[in-house]
């Protein structure tokens, strides 16, 4: 789960990390007043769950209070398309107003879980404002990394080595050490998956200030982090995806026309892949759970039929412990109930598959029962092509 910059900064301040004076501006008048309070100039930052805001016009500096009010009005409600939002972009619903900070030097400081070594890794670079992947590529020598042993934690010595590597001013080393150790504590305490301060700036007066911050949290751990759960902003989330997750299923909306219903994440991905190999486009990833219970199948049909982009539904269930005859009965019931208006292709394999397919064929429902995975994908793609020809312009 991602949180907004202003929320991350609140957490940072609560853990002793300095930020500029800043707060959300709820109106253009508030933006004007904040500019006055901060000495005339103001930085306005769109709060969306995606990076790359600066280049997309989501971060602006107002030179006067009037300009601050004007920028606020332009920015609020606009749709920002950044390198990370996808083509649909994100609507700006909150604007953070901050006091401009003079910068002598800018650093990157980040903590993340490196899955290939199974450890939390602390990374820092003297090229603040540049993405760490970019810095690693362009000047690998400028990025300092420390792998943290969870039994030991982040020690002040480890932080000091990193700080000296960055060429930090001697007077700042103590502040830096304390900050890095506290940030690691915050990372562990709150079950973070990413904590980035980029840039972390050194002011001409010699203070270290978090100018931007990004935090993400482990979804699996939210159950034990009630305070973090409260920070969720679901306004950009796709309603179908939220609904699926509430039902214990996993759905990701995509750009295509073939609605997929599959049991298990790997098989669900493979189904999308095969559709693509056959020349079609999946409308979604949907894992109804390994077992594919009748309830799950019913809910899944409802979710897929809500999506106007879906021209054909492809059901690919591998029946294991849940036998194919039970799955077939579930599909038939769910389809009768749903009154589906789109063609449905079903591929059932696994335990009792012959019986399952017989139930489907004898249901009297208009559905295509495919014998193989390949045939299912081919039929779904050809049916989609037919439907698109009949009603052109239905989808982009």
């Amino acid at each position: 789960m991602d949180i907004h910059e202003y929320q991350a900064k609140e957490l940072l301040r609560a853990h002793g990390v300095a930020t500029a004076r800043e707060q959300l501006a709820g109106s253009s008048e508030e933006a004007r007043a904040l500019a006055v309070a901060y000495g005339g100039r103001l930085v306005l930052k769109a709060q969306i769950h995606a990076g790359g805001r600066g280049r997309a016009g989501g971060v602006k500096i107002a030179e006067t209070p009037d300009e601050a009010a004007r920028i606020w009005s332009q920015m609020m409600g606009m749709t920002l398309v950044t390198s990370q939002t996808g083509p649909a972009g994100r609507r700006v619903r909150r604007i953070l107003a901050a006091e401009p900070v003079a910068t002598a030097r800018a650093f990157y400081l980040g903590l993340t879980v490196d899955r290939s070594i199974g450890r939390v890794v602390l990374a820092a670079s003297a090229e603040g404002g540049v993405e760490i992947e970019e810095a690693t590529r362009s000047s690998p020598g400028s990025v300092w990394r420390a792998e943290i042993d969870p039994m030991v934690g982040c020690t002040p010595q480890m932080a000091e080595v990193l700080g000296r590597g960055l060429g930090l001013d001697a007077g700042l080393v103590e502040t830096w050490k304390a900050m890095v150790v506290r940030l690691y504590g915050l990372f562990i305490e709150k079950d973070c998956s990413l904590l980035e301060i980029n840039p972390l700036v050194q002011t001409p007066e010699g203070a270290l200030i978090a100018l931007d911050a990004k935090m993400s949290f482990d979804d699996n751990a939210l159950i034990r982090q009630p305070e973090i759960q409260c920070l969720r902003d679901a306004s950009d989330d796709v309603p179908q995806e939220i609904e699926a997750s509430r039902l214990g299923m996993s759905l990701v909306k995509l750009e295509g026309e073939i609605g997929c219903m599959v049991n298990g994440a790997g098989l669900a991905m493979a189904t999308m892949d095969l559709i693509q190999l056959c020349g079609g486009r999946p409308a979604n990833f949907l894992d109804v759970g390994g077992g594919a219970s009748e309830d799950a199948v019913r809910h899944a049909f409802r979710l897929l039929l809500q999506d106007a982009a879906v021209k054909v539904i492809l059901v690919n269930i591998f029946g294991g412990i849940m036998r194919c005859d039970a799955v077939a009965a579930g599909i038939v019931n769910a389809l009768r109930e749903s009154g589906a208006r789109v063609p449905v292709v079903v591929r059932l394999d696994g335990t009792n598959r012959a019986e399952g397919r017989r139930i489907l064929r004898e249901s009297g429902l208009e559905l295509v029962v495919a014998e193989t995975f390949q045939e299912a994908a081919e039929r779904a793609v050809s049916l989609t092509t037919e439907r698109m020809r009949q009603s052109p312009g239905g989808t982009p």
């Binding site: 990370q84 996808g86 879980v113 899955r115 290939s116 199974g118 450890r119 939390v120 993405e131 992947e133 042993d149 969870p150 039994m151 562990i188 079950d191 998956s193 482990d218 979804d219 699996n220 751990a221 159950i223 034990r224 996993s250 990701v252 995509l254 599959v262 049991n263 298990g264 994440a265 790997g266 098989l267 669900a268 991905m269 493979a270 189904t271 999308m272 892949d273 095969l274 559709i275 693509q276 190999l277 999946p282 990833f285 894992d287 390994g290 591998f318 029946g319 294991g320 412990i321 394999d349 696994g350 335990t351 014998e371 193989t372 995975f373 390949q374 994908a377």
Partner: protein, 305 residues
């Protein structure tokens, strides 16, 4: 022969008194696995469906001689359960639980370093089956048959799909290992390849991977230098968008396309692994590796399925 589990395996189930644990303890026993008991703290001394229940893994081991544990414990307690089994000195832990916090697994991984004799498979996996001998997992036994192909996979149902495609061609499996879909898991693809390479009854390996991380690439690098047996591989998720988690916590393409299917497939091909483009051709591809002289026959047989 087989790897990790076989006829002699003595399995306990941690969390046997829960709904899932009880169901699958039965299913494993029915398949022929020697399930010697269960562990649920506070319920020691009870007998559930003929399974003796113990308070601790240590007790269960000393009373039954168990050498493997299958874990069905809720996510927030699962890391503790793995740790308990590890410290008790058990040789094999298979953790089915989905949803364990990542930082819990960071600590588990670290603790495993102090117990080098202990192998952890999972979490968030379908478990292990050595067809015709034993299973420690949630997979359906009837789609498998004994034979020469080792399968290692991050995904459950896709492994069933692969096994069923093979079985339909009359090709059995030595052992199928579900290593799990989480970002941090115990056994890696590479560890599994090493086991299959050393197993005299495994003649070819099917490696199933997916987007995210670099477990498949690491395995491919290892295979290039150490594997004498043919390896086929499929990577799920070439149609997946970057930055979105595809069901499995670990199935996500990172910034700059890190861990994308295209990237992985390229690395695997470079290492000499036979990469299968279509998930409908897992079986026929492995058949060709086993019988390189009769590709047409095997392919035709596959299509008739």
């Amino acid at each position: 022969m087989s790897v990790l589990i076989g006829r002699d395996t003595k399995l306990i189930v941690q969390g046997l008194t829960g709904r899932e644990g009880r169901f699958h303890a039965h299913a494993c026993r029915e398949y022929g696995t020697s399930v010697v008991g269960g562990v649920t703290p506070g319920k020691g001394g009870a007998v559930v469906d003929g399974f003796p229940i113990f308070d601790t893994v240590r007790q269960a081991m000393s009373q039954t001689g168990a050498d493997a544990s299958l874990i069905f414990v809720p996510p927030l307690q699962a890391a503790g359960a793995i740790h308990e089994a590890m410290v008790a000195g058990i040789g094999l832990i298979v953790c089915i639980t989905e949803g364990i916090p990542v930082l819990d697994m960071v600590r588990v991984k670290r603790a495993l370093q102090d117990h080098p004799a202990c192998r952890l498979v999972g979490p968030n996996c379908s478990g292990i089956i050595s067809p015709g001998q034993a299973k420690a997992g949630i997979m359906p036994g009837n789609i498998h048959m004994p034979g020469p192909v080792g399968i290692v996979s991050r995904s459950g149902t896709l492994t069933y799909e692969a096994a069923a495609q093979l079985s339909a061609l009359g090709i059995g499996q030595s052992t199928c290992i579900g290593i799990g879909g989480d970002p941090i898991v115990g056994m890696s693809h590479r560890d599994a390849l090493a086991l299959f390479e050393a197993d005299p009854d495994t003649r070819a390996v099917l490696m199933i991977g997916e987007i995210g991380g670099d477990s498949e690439e690491a395995a491919a690098r290892w295979a290039q230098d150490h594997m004498t047996k043919p390896v086929a591989a499929f990577i799920a998720g070439r149609a997946a968008p970057p930055g979105r988690r595809m069901g499995h916590a670990g199935a996500i393409i990172g910034g700059n396309g890190n861990g994308s299917a295209a990237e992985k497939m390229a690395r695997l091909r470079e290492a000499g692994i036979t990469v299968v483009d279509s998930p409908a051709e897992l079986g026929v591809t492995v058949a060709r590796l086993l019988e390189p002289d009769q590709p047409a026959a095997a392919a035709a047989k596959g299509r008739s399925r």
